[in-house]
Amino acid sequence: MQNIINFLIKYRNLLLYLFLMILSVAFTVQSHSHHRNMFIHSTGNLTSSMLKSRSDVYSYFHLSERNKVLQRENAVLRMQLLAAGDTLLGEETTRIFLDTVPYRIMPARVIKNDFHKRDNYITIDIGTNQGIKNDMGVIAANGIVGLIDKAGPKYARVISVLNSNMSLNAQIKGTSTIGSLVWTGKDPYVMNLIDVPRLAKVKKGDTIITGLQSTSFPPDIMIGTVKKVALIDTGSRYDIEVKLFNDLTDLGYVNVIKMRDERARKRVDTLIVGDE
């Protein structure tokens, strides 16, 4: 007994070091897997309000760029609205904004944005109080941004597409060829579309959009253009480099997409009966 106590006293620093080290490595390992990062995250009230005040200060430096982006987005939306208005008759134009729309869009401000790490996360200033739930899709003016990963009451964390744990369903526009969109961790402007079969017709300059399989994103959301096409695995599959439309290094405002039929679709997809 005496020996054990002596041992503990003698090596107390080493033991304390090992304990703290194991604890922090455990946190790190956990943070490398999607949805399991429970303890150390940036959606707590104190952390998020700090991030918010930092973003308040720095957002002044980007006001004119943000304005330009918003103006451009407005112009695009106005064009779409005019095109839609053409095909609708009279009163029906107003119904577009009723409950029957399959997607709801909630605007949010980015209060923290990472893009220089391997696993990047974005923090936004809306949370469960505004109806945000896990796995909702997040888009910006020019295309996809990520998925809600952890929703706190007032803030939510978005797992950016620039994250090694992310894998999105994507499709080549004009065909029904699908693949998985992943990030290799090097260039924040480029992602890779993998698992595309050899028989697919793909060439440089093709547009990549979100696929129909996704339960988070509506189909036909823009992702990027094909930059380079290469056959891998002795020519059985394509590895396609995709240049993103969105500049993820410069995000001011994003939109969170809420799908009306999400639960119904998930239930059909997985055929879980008696869920509710």
């Binding site: 620093n13 070091y17 922090s24 790190t28 956990q30 150390i40 940036s42 930092r54 923290k112 220089h116």
Partner: protein
């Protein structure tokens, strides 16, 4: 002694705020953010108990991990740096650094540079190993350690010299 506590508390908060509001927004060349908070560990009084610094560096690291969403990588790196600090001090200031009551801030410039440099190597290696978390990408780990290390070194050295009581250059 009391003075030490006040000074170190101020340093803890000051470096944390500096890291949060200034250093993490630099993004030099798109990815280089100096990790200046390690100065707290480097400059901590040598004669104090080691376990207090272990707890303090863990707290410092976890706070930074919280807002950077890095899990526990900063905490692990900071705790490791604290644990090896006595060996580094022995290397730089000689065996009897404890007897002579050496203070990093009051020593000569080359020694300040050396202790900061060695600390950065230890800290950044652990940090980037945990962040990248893939043995295959050793080169990437070393590259980031070197490039970000230089940035951290530059900022930390300037800060230390700026605040050092011996205004000699």
């Amino acid at each position: 002694m009391n003075n030490d506590i006040v000074l170190n508390t101020l340093r803890f908060i000051g470096l944390l705020l500096l890291q949060f509001f200034v250093m993490d927004q630099i993004l030099f060349l798109g990815y280089i953010n100096p990790m200046v908070y390690i100065l707290f560990i480097v400059l901590y009084p040598m004669s104090n108990k080691r376990w207090t610094l272990l707890f303090l560096s863990f707290a410092l690291g976890i706070i930074i991990d919280t807002y950077q969403d890095t899990g526990g990588a900063h905490a692990a790196a900071a705790v490791t740096l604290t644990y090896v600090r006595p060996f580094l001090l022995k290397l730089v200031f000689g065996e009897s650094y404890l007897m002579r009551n050496v203070k990093v801030m009051e020593s000569s410039l080359d020694r300040i540079a050396l202790i900061i440099g060695l600390s950065i190597v230890v800290h950044h290696l652990v940090y980037y190993s945990l962040i990248i978390f893939n043995v295959v990408q050793v080169l990437e780990i070393l590259k980031l350690t070197l490039v970000v290390g230089i940035a951290t070194f530059f900022v930390s050295f300037v800060l230390t010299v700026l605040f050092s009581k011996k205004a000699s250059l």
